[in-house]
Amino acid sequence: MSEKLVTVKINDEEIKAKEGELLIKLLKKEHMEVPYFCYHDALGADGNCRMCMVEIEGKKRPQIACDTPVKEGMVVKTNSDMIKKVRKNILELELINHPIDCPVCDQAGECRLQDYYMDYGVYEGRIDKAKKVHLQKHLDIGNNVILDQERCVLCQRCVRFTDNITKTHELGVIGRGNHSRISTMPGKKLNNPYAMNIVELCPVGALTNKDFRFKQRVWFLKSTPAICHGCAKGCNIYIDHNKEKYKDDTIYRIRARVNHDINGYFICDEGRMSYKELGINRQYNALLNSKTIDFGDVSKEFEKIIKETKGDILILADANLYLEELEAIKEFAKTLNAAVCSPLKIYIDESFGDDWLKSKNRAANAKGIQKLNIPQTYEDIEKLELVINFNHPAFKNFLTPKSISFQTHKEFEADLILPIAAFSETEGTLINEDNITQFSQRAIHSKQKIPNIIEWIEMLKDKK
């Protein structure tokens, strides 16, 4: 594609565009309506759905915008009567062999077919003479993906994802004509660490997420932009959550959020499923010697332990904490005359890493630790009397006479255990492994009212 700018006319509006740029990209950029199923920015054009047809002056027939490079002087119409009829007729064809089971379909509310039908659809059925072809439904094709062949519009995004992106080639189209359907290769199942992305790629309800399906109607979900804490890559995500009446604010799924500098359009399956552990085995109560105490009594007990400590104090800070939290911990350490340390080696997991979106470094803010000059080692272990842990996994290696542990999960034993908010329940800044600084928003406002680290420190530092 050249850098030359050309002028094109779209619906009587003159627009400057790069010569050779795909017309569909231009239309999307200019927020002009262009329906499509098969095209995807990450997968390119395939030209099979025929929904993105536009009228181009000088061309006898309507052209697909996803395979039309922009040229100087091109005159395009996206809203002519002819184009409206084409869209309507093609949608009608898509629906012939579609079960039209929106009321029980998980995709309803975020389904392209449903949306386009409302925009361009036909409201008088005339497909009574067409006999529906029946194909297989609720096929478990592996990696938490469920396939319904009847709902499929054969856009082949999933096939192209496994062929061109993961190059694992598990999926293909079998059969011909209206018996064409997506299938895994005989005797095979989806088997790659990014497979669940095809659920998001699927524009309709053909591929659904086994973990998410039937849990929530999507229009009830709130989406909060956040950063995945699964590894140092810093993939951008949406946390989709909802607070149902009489229930607590709950995460139902994690989706990829587009960021061309980091994760593109995708995330790994492990990151997608990582929300699960935010709900299990959580530390909700403050415990003193294994006995529950009120949050109001914590500062008194904390002060007592500090006062009784004559030896050295070490604070361990998890490399998954936000920069703001780490700063607060550093300041807090000064008031306690304590050292701060965050061993980073413990986060390295060679078996997790790959050359795409999965980093072997499983600390979301390891660069943040380095940036704040928090040491990774501590020498005088013998002189230590007290370790105050902020969720660091290496805490189990420190056997000191006294210990205090701020933790999200019921993970460690300590004299004083204090619950803290998990990353989804608070907000802050992270630096990923490529030195990109990003902000992760707070998604969850729980009934549990667990303080985050900054709130704890505010509570404790005055009382010292």
Partner: protein, 417 residues
Amino acid sequence: MREIKIVSKNFSVKDSHLLKTALKNGAYESIKEAFSKTPDEIIDIITQSKLRGKGGGGAYTGKKWCLMPKNPEKSFLVVNCDESEPGTFKDRYIISKDPHLLIEGIIISSYAIRAHDVYIYIRGEYYQFQKILQNAINEAYEKGIIGEKVMGHPYRIDITIHRGAGAYICGEKSALLESLEGKRGHPRLKPHSPQPEYLFGYPTVVNNVETIATVPYIIKNSAEGYLRYGTQNSPGTFLFALSGHINNPGVYECEYGVSMMEYIESFGGGIKGGKKLKAVIPGGASTPVLTADEVKKARLDYDSLKKFGSSLGTGGMIVMDEDTSMVKALKNLLDFYARESCGQCTPCREGTGWVRDIVASILNKEATMQDIETLLDVSDTMNGKTICVFAPAVSGVINAFVNKFEDEFKSFLKSVK
């Protein structure tokens, strides 16, 4: 009317498929002539001869060859022998009656386009014919006609037969190449400017069997020798074929431009049982049907059939007598298309099934005028909105049947009270 035998000259010779018989009948005589010229000179001759592709599209062969690079790192010649068009059975005559003529054509053609590797993509159902062709290729290898050297000329040519798995769409050249690459036979998006096809990423020419088999004659007799036959825009001869309600069905080579009716009368021996002619599908099932009146006026060349809104296609004529039910005939054709649509583009995948169901309901006397209107509207959606010409062809077939035999279709409609 006389037969003009250019490609079919040895069809009636006994054991014509064997190398020794073929050599007696002049096989491989044009090779020496061809290698005395440069590749570009051969392309020029083919361009001058106005040889048109004989697989249905009728594109100029010379133009296709001109698109090939002059110094390719690697290039291919692919011979399209996926002859699956209903009513078409000419290529199998060539590969079973005179396979050495095809090999001779392959040698010259691949020399002209600077290709060393040739694939013959043959439909899987042609098992017996494929065996004959493979034997001929083996004989040619043994005698040094192909292989490291072509009859002593330092030019390597290897020919490989690839059998298709039984999909009609693989006769479409880009779907054929996809299939040859080991992928699903889906037609590719068409390029925005003229360029060759690509196989495994290398420039490739795809030609029909008969086109390639015509090349030796042109080299031997020059472009003028070929231009002697046929008309201005349809030069030369074509292996026209007849099937259906005809006394002598078969393949009869003849020059372009002759009267269609005369061809049917003189080669086909008239309509079976002395009945009257009702309609003819001129060039394989995908060409719009002609009524008896149109057949009387039509000539067998590209221009004439275009005037009637049809096309010459593969030249395989399906003749239908007065007792033929056009609704049944259309249903029969649509059954084929619904089964053979590759399923890539929405209008074709869903449209072919729907129009088949509508015509079936007409046939069962369950349809109303509304359904015929729907049929024509769906047919319109299928026209010009897909990657390849499969759906537009089906659309043309439906429109011709319904519009030209409107009264017959109406007579099948459910009587409205």
